[in-house]
């Protein structure tokens, strides 16, 4: 492991660092020796998180749109996965996780472009750095892919690629650096175990900005079409759930009780939020729906994400309940009060969920709520202050930067929206020349 990286490691992986020192003292980290068990788990977690996007998220989103756009949604997700991976190798990882020297509070440096200097024996803590790189890459893949849900059924494919690519570098990499890469939020001790800020808040708020610029789908809100394939939605949600074990459990960067607790609380929050969403629908509409149930699942998962390494089972139950109620409400507010066609509710589920969890963790990590405890000398309100600052900064930067990136993209693609004809005929055939179902 290069010296610059090691120097960075302690503050950089803030959450990890905290955890490691607090709960992880039983594994030999100090010596910077490879732990094959930890490595095995993070290799697995990498596969699990990739599985979340491919095909989990793709199916989850694909089932929610109309049948004439399902392939375009899958295409968005897969193409984003490919492009983000390559960009992550070229520059994203380096900007996120290396020392940015003078600018280090804000952004990393260029020492790891193309994974330069990383051999098979370069370590990042107790795991190979290439494993850490790949694990983080899967996060960089899913975050822009989450935003697909905001702009489906009407955006140009070229705009998807350009906007996502720019966004990775201008929004995702800096925020990652702030929180996990040794930047200013890490220095303040912000808690974000697996990406409430880095992943869900950035994607959620950016989605709203994109939707405002893009406009609503034809027929919104009165004549929108219902999901074309709720079973596909549920299948995707199940895969997201399973993959999330790697997302949150893997963020411990070790195969130990900390990973186990992250996995446990993740599961409990997901289960609880699902049940809450189901009960709300049952009470309010008379029938609990499958799409509602699994939307609750995703809300629970997004909300527990920042908190997953800090809270206990009781905290997970509370977060699950909060996620169910708050996200359910927000879905309606965005569509009905704000009249924004955030088509698959990226903001209401991911943005709001991730933000909620980011704030709640300040309290729920306290032992009083069964949490794993705050660093010595810190009160809940101290922690809450830091979390709020982190959230405000993340939202602010994501919104402003995305606004500008959308303008740039619109310039490059002569407008990010497809022609109305093409929208009506469907993007599958007009943008990709394909037909989804020939079942006869």
């Amino acid at each position: 492991m290069s010296k610059s990286y090691r120097r960075l490691a302690a503050p950089a992986l803030s959450l990890v660092a905290v955890l490691l020192t607090l709960f992880h003292s039983d594994t030999a980290l100090a010596a910077d020796q490879l732990n094959s068990g930890d490595t095995a788990w993070i290799l697995t977690a990498t596969a699990l998180v990739l599985f979340m996007t491919l095909p989990g998220l793709a199916l989850f989103y694909g089932g929610l749109v109309q049948s004439r756009n399902v392939l375009s949604v899958l295409m968005h997700c897969v193409a984003i996965a490919c492009l983000m991976s390559v960009l992550w190798l070229i520059v994203g990882y380096s900007l996120s996780f290396t020392d940015g020297a003078g600018a280090n509070q804000l952004i990393g440096g260029f020492s790891r472009l193309f994974l330069d200097g990383v051999g098979t024996d370069t370590l990042a803590g107790a795991i190979p750095e290439n494993v850490f790189f790949s694990f983080q890459m899967t996060f960089a893949v899913i975050t822009p892919a989450l935003m697909v849900g905001a702009y489906v059924e009407r955006i140009k494919f070229s705009a998807v690629l350009i906007l996502s690519g720019l966004w990775l570098i201008v929004v995702y990499a800096p925020v990652t650096h702030w929180v996990w890469g040794g930047g200013w939020l890490a220095d303040m001790g912000v808690m974000d175990f697996a990406g409430g800020l880095v992943v869900h808040a950035t994607a959620g708020i950016s989605s709203l900005v994109i939707v405002r610029a893009l406009g609503a789908r034809h027929g919104f809100p009165n004549d929108s079409a219902p999901p074309h394939n709720p079973g596909m939605v549920a299948m995707g949600a199940c895969m997201l759930w399973v993959g999330w074990f790697g997302f949150n459990g893997g963020s411990a960067l070790a195969a130990d009780g900390s990973a186990g607790m992250a996995l446990t609380v993740t599961h409990i929050a997901a289960a609880t939020a699902s049940l809450v969403w189901m009960m709300i629908e049952w009470k309010k509409y008379g029938k609990p729906s499958l799409v509602g149930l699994v939307t609750g699942t995703i809300a629970g998962l997004a909300t527990i994400t920042p908190a997953s390494g800090f809270v206990g089972p009781l905290g997970a139950l509370i977060i699950g309940v909060a996620a169910g109620f708050v996200c359910f409400k927000m879905v309606q507010i965005v569509k009905q009060a704000w009249k924004l066609d955030d088509s698959l509710d990226v903001f209401a589920v991911h943005g709001v969920g991730g933000s909620l969890g980011t704030l709640l963790v300040a309290f729920l990590c306290a032992p009083e709520f069964g949490g794993l405890g705050l660093p010595e000398g810190k009160t809940m309100w101290d922690a809450f202050g830091v979390q709020a600052i982190g959230l405000a900064a993340t939202i602010g930067w994501s919104a402003v930067a995305t606004y500008i990136l959308v303008k740039i993209t619109a310039g490059l693609t002569s407008g990010i929206r497809v022609r109305e004809d093409d929208e009506l005929e469907g993007l599958d055939i007009t943008a990709h020349g394909e037909t989804a179902y020939r079942l006869d």
Binding site: P221, S224, A225, P226, P227, P230, E281, Y285, K287, S289, V291, G292, T295, F328, V331, Q332, K335, Q336, D345
Partner: protein, 112 residues
């Protein structure tokens, strides 16, 4: 010859097929359709948004019959497809000029 076209509720197809069999009808052609009528469509709610689904699933049955059998066929359909609830469907009858059995080239009543 007449051509009878009926729109019925999907789960009544088996009953209709059997009733027609009893009248001696040996062939029919069936397709999935969506119906719009007095039976209002359903409302589906996904993630808090209400979707007005105007069309309901129905099944269309088409039967070519000799003139003398029409009354019997219509009667059989009407009886077997009836649930007494709104949305039970309709039976329409037209005149047909000619019919051919592709396999043999038989014509008209022989082709049915």
């Amino acid at each position: 010859m007449k051509f009878v076209m009926a729109v019925i509720k999907p789960h009544k197809l088996d009953a209709v097929r059997e009733a027609l069999g009893a009248t001696g009808v040996e062939g029919m052609t069936v397709s999935e359709v969506k119906g719009y009528g007095r039976q209002r469509g359903q409302t589906e709610i996904y993630r808090g948004a209400e979707y007005q689904v105007h069309f309901l699933p129905k099944v269309k049955v088409e039967i070519a019959v000799a003139d003398d059998k029409v009354a019997q066929v219509v009667e059989a359909i009407q009886t077997s497809a009836n649930t007494g609830k709104i949305g039970d469907g309709k039976v329409f009858v037209y005149n047909m000029d000619s019919a051919v059995r592709i396999r043999t080239g038989e014509q008209d009543n022989d082709a049915l």
